[in-house]
């Protein structure tokens, strides 16, 4: 059973603004029967203000609650204000959603944008035109994925799936998702970690603490995904001695892992002079 907040349950059992609007001048549709959830959003925009909003939703409890929350949030907003509403606002309005259900809030945001495009007379742009299709099962583009990563500070492929559904079907695109994630995280870390702003001159203690932090936060999770692991054995100035564990020990490309990934990550985040060596057994 999902752990829904009382607010999600309440908006599911008593959804606000259900139905269609006969005098809607903006309609946004996302999702499909086959995907398991779909939302049709009706807006009445007067001048540049949303004076009424209604919805029809096919989907689970959190999809219905997210739609209800969305309509409550945007009623009375100007179009410009509404465009600033993100999926996180919808989730927060509901007191949070289970992480596996975050895609329901994303659906709300997308329907809102589609409706506003419709109102502006822009073509009901298909997502496939906005970027490259990455997940064929659920029709998710690279643009949608990158946006979800940026706006929600996503850190793992699993999180991408929770937010966009991408990778949740046949799983073929998981490698592609990892690449998109790597590119995003390498380019601009979304988290507020002080890693990027590491001071140039570090004391030995500071350096060791930072190395440990990067090992724990960035490096180990990645190796563990492949069944491997790494342990810090010792540090001597900027030389870091590590031991590879798990699958890494028998992996023929462990040298590449050390130089290409571990050393590079530590250089990026800690000190450009870092040298990684494998500790003698």
């Amino acid at each position: 059973m999902w752990e829904y907040t009382d607010k999600v349950r309440e908006h599911f059992l008593n959804p606000r603004n259900v139905g269609s609007l006969d005098d809607a001048n903006a309609i946004g549709e996302v999702g499909s029967l086959a995907c398991g959830d779909a939302l049709k959003l009706y807006l009445k925009i007067d001048g540049d203000r949303i004076v009424d909003a209604k919805f029809q939703t096919f989907g689970c409890a959190s999809a219905i609650a997210s739609s209800s929350a969305l309509t409550e949030l945007i009623k009375g907003m100007t179009v410009e204000e509404a465009l600033k509403v993100t999926n996180r606002d919808i989730a927060e309005f509901l007191g949070g959603l289970p992480k596996e259900k975050m895609h329901c809030s994303v659906m709300g945001q997308e329907a809102l944008e589609a409706a506003i495009r419709n109102w502006r007379g822009e073509p009901a742009v298909e997502h496939s035109h906005e970027g490259q299709l990455v997940c064929k099962c659920f029709g998710v583009t690279d643009e949608q994925i990158v946006r979800a990563i940026r706006e929600n500070g996503l850190k793992t492929v699993e999180e991408i799936t929770h937010y966009t559904k991408a990778g949740g079907g046949c799983g073929e695109c998981v490698g592609e998702l990892q690449k998109l994630l790597d590119a995003e995280l390498g380019k601009a870390p979304v988290c507020e970690t002080p890693l990027a702003a590491a001071p140039k001159k570090l004391s030995n203690v500071q350096r060791m603490q930072l190395v440990l932090k990067v090992l724990e936060g960035e490096i180990r999770p990645r190796l563990q995904q492949d069944g491997g692991d790494i342990e810090l054995v010792d540090m001597d100035g900027t030389t870091v001695y590590v031991a590879l564990r798990g699958m890494c020990t028998s992996c023929p490309s462990s040298r590449l892992t050390l130089e290409g990934f571990v050393e590079k990550t530590l250089r990026d985040h800690v000190d450009e002079n870092i040298v990684v060596k494998e500790a003698a057994a």
Partner: protein
Amino acid sequence: MNTVYFDNNATTRVDPAVLAAMLPYFSELYGNPSSMHTFGGQVGRAVREAREQVARLIGATPEEIVFTSCGTEGDNTAIRAALAAQPEKKHIITTRVEHPAVLSLSQHLEKNGYELTLLGVDDKGRMNLEELREAIRKDTAIVSIMFANNETGTIFPVAEAAAICKERGVPFHTDAVQAVGKLAIDVRELPVDYLVLSGHKLHAPKGIGALYVRRGAAYRPFLRGGHQERGRRGGTENVPAIIGLGMACNLAAANMAEENTRVRALRDRLEQGLLAAIPDAIVNGDPTNRLPNTTNISFKYVEGEAILLLLDQLGVCASSGSACTSGSLEPSHVLRAMGVPFTYAHGSIRFSLSRFNTQEEVDHVVRELPRVIARLREMSPFRAGSEAEAALGKPACACQGCGS
């Protein structure tokens, strides 16, 4: 209205007589059945009787019964035993609609040096024996075919499939967790090598199961340890649960007729009542060759989790094969293997009854569910004849095979 429990394929209520039989073994009769003293010995005797009771239900001898902790352990033990006994054979055959206890083990083995053939099913969830015959190879180490499907209740031709395998000299395993206690099973007439049952599906507690290993079939312990279960499963016996399973098997034999008459009639009343009251609903599974307690119905244009949560408000417990309830993003692997269109699969609800259910409960659901479906359909952007369907160029087809 109290809880209406229509989710007996998930787990069942412990029969009060089973609980009563177990209780002394939590308190005064706490001895270890392996002990030399009389105090433990009397417990050993009770375990022996329970083994006889389990054996009797399926026509086995007590020596052919190994107590396990659950159905999953039984399935893993049997399949791994067959593989370990024939290390040169690297091919496994099972079906696409198995319980994860078999399916995910098979897929794991596939990643570790085995070749896997997954037999398909038709739109009613039925397998094709010819497909099995053709799939068997010289290096086939095990064939595993469930006795009855947990989601749809469809019964598999296990006797025929096992006979084919016997003829070809291939060990045969069946996950009979959903069938034992509901269908008459006699291993003297059923040429299976391994058969798995689980206590909590037949009114015994959770945490106990049994594996039938035909005398002479290859065996390797999965859990190595002490000499319990004659060295076939290490670990001190879960005595209270074993006593409970024995009693539950006795009761199952006595109640088998009721399962197939009264419970079946309740299931039929529920199914027919719902189909008559709710348009755009179809039954998933084999309408004739089906467990007497199970019905799996899809309601188009609505989503299963939403149905379940509204039923929950009414005290009704059921389950769904929708994506949102499966914990993944895709609907049930069973319904997909059957080719049930996604538009129906997302709105599938399984009701599974037991002898503890009443007609009053059935009538409560037949009265309430149509309102639940109507309420969700009113909220849905899709409905019969809606644009989404018009786009398909033809009206919705009520059959479950054509995909439209």
